[in-house]
């Protein structure tokens, strides 16, 4: 068995901060598949495997190369149908796409502000230059100016969790009675913020906090990797 997952990582070599890589880490955990997590910097992405990749995650699954977290999840379900399902039917696969769209358009905008300085601080010098350049171009202001809005955006982030809170009063996982890839997608978003922000993401009595803890337990125990924060 050789299964290698390439992951953006802080200068300490163990703080993995890509939300999309975390989706795959949890998915591999759910399916009970071992893997080696291999850290890369932005610059090293173009050198992964056959050199055809421009982003992570990239998975080398016994010689089969796959990139993009959703494509990797589909590959894992097709390749290991005897393991726990990430998508139990086509409609469940579609609903995972809705979870992805919800994360990208509702949660990522405030978290991009909340995490911006924390992400920068854990990177090595080379990644810092690249990250600063990309973010400052996207926002049209300096990292420090972006970060000035973080308290407001943190309040906005917590408000936007309301549909998750009311949902978790009905089912324990976004996949229903068992976690599926929709859980991995949401988890990836929160785990990205969790490892890069010093503040506690959720209030103590927030049902999302309980669900998030259960997701992290799955990663820690099943995936067998050390989690930075």
């Amino acid at each position: 068995m050789t299964r290698i997952l390439y992951s953006l990582c802080g200068a300490d070599g163990r703080t993995h901060y890509s939300p999309h890589v975390w989706k795959v880490i949890m998915a591999l955990g759910l399916k009970g598949l071992d893997f080696e997590l291999r850290p890369v910097t932005f610059k090293q992405i173009s050198g992964i495997e056959d050199g055809s990749f421009t982003s992570v995650p990239v998975l080398n699954d016994n010689g089969h190369l796959e990139c993009d977290s959703f494509r990797i999840a589909v590959h894992l379900d097709e390749s290991y149908p005897e393991k726990a399902a990430l998508f139990s039917c086509p409609a469940a696969r579609a609903s995972a796409r809705f979870a992805e769209c919800f994360c990208q358009s509702v949660l990522h905008p405030p978290l991009s502000v909340v995490t911006v300085l924390g992400m920068h601080s854990i990177m090595g010098p080379e990644c810092q230059v690249h990250f600063r350049s990309v973010r400052e171009k996207r926002f049209g202001k300096t990292l420090e100016e972006i970060a000035a809005g973080r308290d407001v955006e943190f309040v906005s982030f917590r408000e936007k969790l309301e549909p998750l809170r009311s949902y978790l009063a009905i089912h324990p996982w976004f996949g229903g009675e068992e976690p599926q890839f929709s859980d991995c997608i949401l988890f990836g978003t929160f785990q990205w913020a969790h490892v890069t922000v010093k503040a506690t993401l959720f209030s103590e009595d927030d049902p999302v906090a309980d669900w998030f803890g259960r997701c992290r337990d799955l990663c820690g125990e099943l995936a067998g990797i050390s989690v930075a924060a």
Copy 2:
């Protein structure tokens, strides 16, 4: 066959405005099940069938009584498994709950403001008194004061459609390649606003508008009922 769906209706006897009833109308349409839509006022709800109900929708399906839109959907799938599935697996059922939570906590708050005067205007005098009392108590201000915020809330409503827009670039229905109950839930919310608000809900090029039109077509053709707006 006797299948009767009880529905809150405007004074004209044909403007059905409950989002939860519309979920069931579309669900019956998807399953290709005929029914009679029977209008009731708020006061008449306590007189429906055996007198045990406090809200609509209520469905009398050949003598079997069921209330609550989600319970009705589950009943329809269990009773008519040979017809199109509203939930194609347990995870799809869970994802319909997430769509419900998204509607209730993200879309209903702005739409409650946007629709408030329109709802009031289509009701008969008895319903108007009840509706005004309930809404003014909930908001802590008069209907007219609530409605003063409608332009701001309408902008907010359109912003909140972003995850739906990005999703619809991937799949044609929220159930994936075919509509399921998650489509019915979202449709019910928009149809409630559509029949009570004079303004066009979506901008012309919004992919949500195209999907909404397809949902309405399903109700009109399959359910065989006249749609008010």
